[in-house]
């Protein structure tokens, strides 16, 4: 990862259905997790579910985040289904 990128990680059902564990994307000023989801959903196919009916949970730097959370270079963003441990 270089200084002007951030990583996106996927877990569980999303990781399997997107067939993707991790992406490295370019950072942009003012970029939010919501904008990242919208942009990834435009890839179509399984990616469209990122803007679908099923809830997607968001973490930034391993803490729960919102659609409005800003993402900066070097951040670790994660998208995953609602959790089911215990």
């Amino acid at each position: 990862m270089t200084a002007d990128t951030f990583t996106v990680r996927f877990f569980a059902r999303l990781r399997e259905e997107l067939d993707t564990e991790q992406l490295t994307l370019p950072a942009e000023p003012g970029l939010t997790t919501g904008a990242i989801l919208a942009s990834l959903a435009e890839r179509g196919g399984a990616w469209a579910q990122l803007q679908g009916k099923q809830p997607v949970m968001i973490a930034v730097n391993q803490a729960m985040a919102k659609l409005s959370t800003e993402v900066r270079a070097g951040d670790e963003v994660a998208f995953f289904p609602p959790v089911t441990g215990g």
């Binding site: 877990f11 059902r13 973490a59 803490a63 441990g85 215990g86």
Partner: protein, 148 residues
């Protein structure tokens, strides 16, 4: 202390460690969760448990801190297994030491309820006919929300 591990654990050993937490402890509440044979699907043969390394520990540490601020918690122990598990395997252990039973019960139940809806673990059920990612239950969310 928090452990995320593939290996099984021994509740008797964990209980003994909690007993050694100090003379102020008057109550220990423990919970152990097991793999059962029916969940979203019937005839479940086992589970696969995935987690988000690093974030999982941070979230549970935050829950233990919250429990300690709300109740008398002398010591708390959380163990959660990940990877492939079979029927009747132990999945999770929560143990809490308090001066009195009400705080021990409440903190133990809070930790389990909150862990289920906020710690990044995901269960996949394995049956003879295939695999299925477990859906989050609205009843689990309601139980967790009830502590807010």
């Amino acid at each position: 202390m928090i452990s995320i591990q593939n290996e099984d654990f021994d509740p008797a050993t964990e209980y003994q460690r909690l007993r050694d937490s100090g003379a102020g402890t008057g109550a220990i509440a423990t919970f152990t969760g097991l793999v059962r044979d029916s969940g979203d699907l019937s005839d479940v043969q086992g589970l696969y448990l995935e987690h988000y390394p690093g974030m999982t520990e941070q979230v549970i540490e935050g829950l233990v801190a919250e429990a300690s601020s709300r109740w008398d918690v002398r010591q708390a122990r959380v163990i959660h297994r990940v990877g492939r598990l079979t029927l009747q395997d132990q999945i999770v252990f929560v143990g809490v030491c308090s001066a009195h039973r009400s705080d021990a019960f409440a903190a133990c139940q809070f930790l389990m309820d909150a862990l289920k809806t906020s710690a990044p673990f995901w269960k996949k059920e394995i049956t003879a006919s295939g695999e299925h990612w477990v859906e989050q239950k609205t009843s689990d969310v309601a139980r967790s929300d009830a502590w807010k």
